[in-house]
């Protein structure tokens, strides 16, 4: 496993370098001269020259890239124009909020998606299967920001059951924290539940046709035991892999959910940064999510190897 992990980490290095080149190039897409924007309306030539020097804009582009990448390697992703805080510090502050939201969304998605997939596969071809598939496809088709708005209207405005917005840190008041995050997590987890349902169904259908399930049934085991202990345990192997990948997507999907429910997380940070033209923060977030995605991929592969004995020695 150690050998596998080191190989994968080595392969990840060129990909991370390419992501960093892409992220660095983003600022070159900006129309006009960024220094003129920074210099304000007076456009003092001395200030412009000083800014060009400070941001190494007089240097060739590859020198600029190496300076930027060198700083990024040391954890310096620049300073936020809006808050004057280091970008890494800002990301570090907001990330735990989004991780809590993503973990809750993933739990909700697993609780709904996996049993639905098992039932759908077991009842293949019946109206139950058809209905479960239709609901899953609807879950994938519904825009989560609209679902959020509709849930606020129903659950908060009409019924008054849950708060429509706000955030309570888990460390301060766990119950209230879960209460405020419940609706956003449900919204964020809908599409993930649908994806998990489809993957579980597909994996279960394949496992239910295998010889060992037929043998287990022939031995006279109860259907419940065959389904849960024999079939599901093996069907879950690819599902766990998908789940690890979905967690990365949840972090990205939180952008809109956090915006609707005014949760001060990673997603809201990116939107606020976009509207305040805080480009260093946008770049930092794209770089961090890209790298996080690569590590989630490696973790997913590692989990697959751990769970699948046939892959362990390869």
């Amino acid at each position: 496993m150690l050998g596998f992990l080191s190989r994968r980490l080595l392969i990840a290095i060129p990909t991370i370098i390419l992501i960093s080149i892409f992220v660095f190039s983003l600022q070159k897409l900006l129309p006009g001269d960024p220094v003129l924007v920074m210099a304000g309306e007076e456009r003092d030539p001395d200030l412009i020259a000083a800014l060009r020097e400070k941001y190494r804009l007089n240097d060739p582009i590859f020198v600029q890239y190496f300076a930027w990448a060198g700083n990024a390697l040391r954890g310096d992703l620049g300073i936020s124009l809006r808050t004057n805080q280091p970008v890494t510090e800002l990301i570090g502050e907001k990330l735990p909020v989004t991780i809590q939201l993503a973990v809750m969304a993933l739990i909700i998605a697993m609780v709904i998606g996996i049993p639905a997939g098992v039932i759908s596969a077991y009842k293949k071809g019946t109206w139950v299967d058809w209905l479960a598939n239709l609901i899953a496809l609807s879950g994938l088709s519904v825009p989560n920001f609209w679902l959020g708005i509709m849930l606020i209207l129903l659950v908060s405005v009409k019924l008054g059951w849950l708060p429509a917005s706000g955030y309570q840190p888990f460390s301060e008041d766990p119950l209230q924290s879960i209460r405020t995050m419940l609706m956003p997590a449900l919204v964020l987890g809908t599409a993930t539940a649908a994806t998990l349902m489809r993957h579980t169904r597909s994996a279960m259908l394949s496992v239910l046709q295998s010889d060992y399930v037929r043998t287990a049934r022939a031995k006279g085991l109860r259907e419940h035991t065959v389904l849960i202990k024999h079939a599901l345990r093996n069907a879950l192997v690819p599902v766990v892999t998908v789940t690890a990948l979905l967690f990365g997507e949840l972090l990205a999907g939180a952008v809109l959910t956090e915006q609707i429910f005014t949760i001060p997380g990673f997603g809201k940070l990116v939107v606020d940064a976009v509207f305040n033209r805080d480009y260093a923060v946008v770049q930092g977030i794209v770089l961090c999510t890209g790298i996080a995605f690569i590590f989630m991929n490696i973790l997913a592969d590692a989990a697959y190897r751990l769970l699948n004995p046939r892959m362990r020695d390869t």
Partner: protein, 294 residues
């Protein structure tokens, strides 16, 4: 090497007419695929007929009918400045469908040639294209689209470019994998053996055979692109006001949830239905084109 047109007739034609009719027959037998097709067709027709329908203009304001609930005069009610919600939805369908289709065309136009070149040339060309694809795939689709739209500037055109570029890696990977698979087929081997040139080989033998999965992926990606455009417009990075767009309508509607819930209900339902339509259509096409089911 150049193409030798007069020898191409010796090579077997990979796309059989029989297969096309079998695919159509399978597609017709699937009620969900047909339903998807009908939903998509409905929205396309409504969007195209928008200028000819007896509805108020999408920018026409009526200060005497601000936030009016649905009635015979305004079937889906009016918005915060008295504009007809139904009219804005119908005109907004143009923006959404255009964004969905154009974004995917951008992604296909960039992704398929790169994927085919990577699969066809292999070696370092493949390695270089694949590494760039992996790097782009590592950045989450929506974050990438938001970042690109933010740097390019807010507009529908830039949103389409941002979504198209973000969706490109999927098409590169798919076209590459399909090309690698098609290259091992006997008909490609025989075409090469009789001296068919690179361009002709790609044009006549590879592209027609990698088209079905590209079509399926394209249909499903239109659904994703429509949601992405709505999301960007919702955030203020897509279609700019006062031009109608479903996402931008939802952005305004969220401020009037208690007073005018219809402002949020109908545009969201439209996004949901059209995306569901494309997803059903894509799933149906995938099943119909899957040779394992024949």
């Amino acid at each position: 090497m150049t193409a030798i047109p007069d020898t191409q007739s010796f090579a077997p034609d990979p796309v059989l007419p029989k297969r096309k009719s079998r695919v159509w027959a399978k597609f017709k037998r699937s009620p969900s695929a047909l339903l998807g097709g009908v939903i998509v067709l409905f929205f396309v027709i409504v969007a195209l007929l928008a200028p000819f329908l007896p509805i108020p203009g999408p920018l026409e304001t009526d200060w005497g009918a601000v936030r009016k609930a649905p009635s015979a005069a305004h079937l889906f009610g009016t918005d915060e400045i008295g504009r007809d919600v139904l009219s804005r939805m119908i005109w907004g369908a143009q923006a959404s469908l255009l964004a969905g289709v154009v974004s995917v065309l951008i992604a296909v136009a960039m992704g398929v040639p790169l994927g085919v070149i990577a699969g066809y040339r292999r070696g370092w060309t493949d390695a270089a294209i694949s590494r760039v694809t992996e790097a782009l795939l590592a950045a989450p689709f929506l974050i990438l689209a938001i970042a690109l739209a933010a740097f390019l500037g807010p507009s529908l055109t830039n949103a389409m470019i941002a979504i198209g570029v973000s969706a490109t890696p999927v098409f590169i990977r798919l076209a590459r994998a399909q090309t690698l698979s098609v290259m091992t087929e006997d008909y490609v081997e025989s075409a090469r053996a009789i001296g068919v040139g690179h361009v002709a080989l790609i044009w006549r033998y590879i592209l027609p055979n990698i088209f079905p999965p590209i079509l399926v992926q394209g249909t499903l990606t239109i659904a994703t692109a429509i949601i992405a455009e709505a999301a960007l417009s919702f955030l203020g990075l897509g279609q700019q006001p006062p031009a109608p767009s479903w996402g931008a309508m939802l952005n305004v509607a969220k401020n009037f949830l208690e007073q005018a819930p219809w402002m949020a209900l109908y545009p969201g339902m439209a996004i949901f239905l059209v995306v569901l339509g494309f997803n059903l259509l894509g799933d149906g096409l995938r099943d119909a084109l899957d040779p394992r089911d024949n």
